[in-house]
Symmetry: C2
């Protein structure tokens, strides 16, 4: 059974909308690559000769503003390509754009819709559901985008919570510095999820359609235990451990709690995409280290509140983030860039093969 | 500037989800007609020979459950037609269905998405926006449905609030029993809105596509002042008048408040559709008197709370519906059917002309 852990909605101080700078920076860094990728690789010819609807989906869009910015970037790049290829000059010759903003059912779509850019040049729809399954009709999409969302697993591997398993993940909330078996359990779940993701997208993308994935990963040849996201969540882990020590959280609960995120290596990702068989890999490369600040209490809360509530209870939230905000490693260091050579971003561009 | 007055969201006691029996009954009465209309009039031939995506939009869907029930009815009827016409027996030969649930931005889409039927056989999207403007790409819809939503106007005609106008609507919240000019002001606004509606749908519906409208109307040859919806809102009007008498609401505010709803005659509607020119009228008929109970306080609140809050202030809501619930005309009579020969339902089926 898949689980749902959306970003925190609305625009309050703990919301994703107000706490998504890291994702914004990372996506912004990829903007030029995005434009070039579309310009070089989009086959206008495989679309109908008469301008028609060009459908874009952002999967795992959360609530903006990042998704609105990137959608504009995508539409700008596609429009440039149309102008160049079709030798048309008037915007009237462009296709109409329809943008599907998709995220889990529990995403705050009300807030997303209320904050849509007023001057947008596209038709809008919100699509609730998990990107690990089908969301759209066959061959109905021309461009799929997903940014810093695919590291979220559909579920926590069961063995992490099995005290009799070698993958029992005692005292940790992730697989960083964990035994080999823990990393393998995460890796196996990731493989299952990515296979489901590509299987669904293979059906939904029209022939010649492009898919651009921005994915947090780890360097070539490294083990999961050296995973790049561990330092990012280390303040959360140590704060939870402090709560156990202070008797505010039971050790059992702490031991059974694990974050459903995973960062693959390039090799893992390439194997999974090739196994699917529906896509030509156009680009699959590291776009360099992901420099990030350790998340503030608000930043961490925006991304993890729903999963923490579900597994540890509502009553944990306020004391947890109160304590977190006093953590000496992050207090007052919101602008301190964390230097982690294990944290790399992947820029993955694939094209749906022609039928 | 168009205004937004969604039904009350969520599933609380004052929600539309719990208080939409009248609309449910009316729509249920049209179910057999709906199935026959689709079966007789849907041209499978004008769709591509290979089964593809069949796109349905419910405009003014609110939050269900009515919309889910009617969407199932539509899909059943379309599927039957496919089976019959294509002589195919396996469901695999059917098109894939994609259903757009559309309502105002302020509609509770979070609740709508959370309550989607789990066993649905279609892809889902929510589309925020006013049906008085464009919502979908050109020729992208195959079937449009809207039930008991088109009587909502995009705005209140200005002259109703102009003390110097003959259409100044003192002491009333609707045009029932009002001077001729009041009804004319409502009628003119309705004409503008319906023209916008049909203009947008003419662009969005694919050639041969069907549109089914269920509309509250009034009998042939009657004046707006004899409008059928007035009795339905009479308890609200008299309760507001009581509040003025008791000093709980200023007379100015009461006089400047008007409900943005209008019921056309068949002639009005036919003229407006024919003026558009993009549609063949297949059916335009009364489906008989709309028998309805006077709405309970909760029922009235579900449909009018947002507009009342906006125009009369948040503080009015609790005392208003507290007083409303004590109204002798409706107290304890939730099951009393109101007999109003002025209240008729229209069943309107039109087909987008071929290009």
């Amino acid at each position: 059974m898949a689980e749902e852990f959306p970003m925190t909605g609305g625009d309050g101080p703990n919301s994703y909308a107000k706490n998504s700078n890291a994702a914004a920076k990372a996506a912004d860094g990829a903007k030029a690559m995005l434009a070039a990728a579309i310009f070089e690789n989009l086959d206008i010819e495989t679309l109908q000769s008469r301008p028609t609807t060009f459908r874009i989906a952002d999967l795992g869009c959360s609530v903006g503003p990042n998704t609105f910015i990137q959608v504009d970037n995508i539409i700008d790049a596609v429009s440039q390509k149309y102008h160049k290829k079709s030798k048309v000059q008037s915007a009237g010759e462009l296709p109409e754009f329809q943008v599907y903003f998709s995220d889990l059912v529990s995403n705050d779509f009300n807030y997303l819709f209320a904050t849509l850019p007023r001057d947008r040049q596209y038709f809008t729809a919100g699509v609730p559901g998990s990107f690990h399954g089908r969301l759209f009709p066959e061959a109905s999409l021309n461009f799929v985008y997903t940014a810093y969302a695919l590291h979220w697993l559909s579920k926590i591997p069961d063995e992490l919570r099995d005290i009799n398993s070698p993958a029992f993940n005692k005292g940790r909330i992730l697989y960083g510095s964990a035994p080999y078996e823990v990393g393998q359990a995460y890796s196996a779940q990731y493989a299952k999820d990515i296979k489901s993701f590509f299987h669904a997208r293979g059906q939904e993308l029209a022939p010649g359609g492009l898919m651009l994935l921005l994915i947090p990963g780890r360097p070539h040849g490294t083990l999961p235990a050296q995973n790049s996201l561990a330092p990012y969540f280390q303040p959360l882990e140590s704060t939870l451990a402090d709560m156990v020590n202070e008797g505010l959280l039971s050790e059992d609960k702490f031991d059974s709690f694990n974050l459903p995120v995973y960062c693959p290596s390039v090799e893992e990702l390439r194997d999974l995409i090739e196994e699917n068989g529906c896509f030509d890999i156009l680009t699959l490369e590291s776009i360099g280290q992901m420099a990030f600040s350790l998340p503030s209490a608000q930043g961490c809360r925006a991304g993890t509140e729903s999963i923490l509530r579900k597994h540890l209870g509502d009553e944990i939230i306020e004391p947890l983030f109160d304590l977190y905000s006093k953590n000496k490693n992050i207090a007052g260091s919101a602008s301190l860039v964390h230097d982690d050579s294990m944290a790399v971003g992947f820029f993955v561009l694939v094209k749906r093969k022609l039928l």
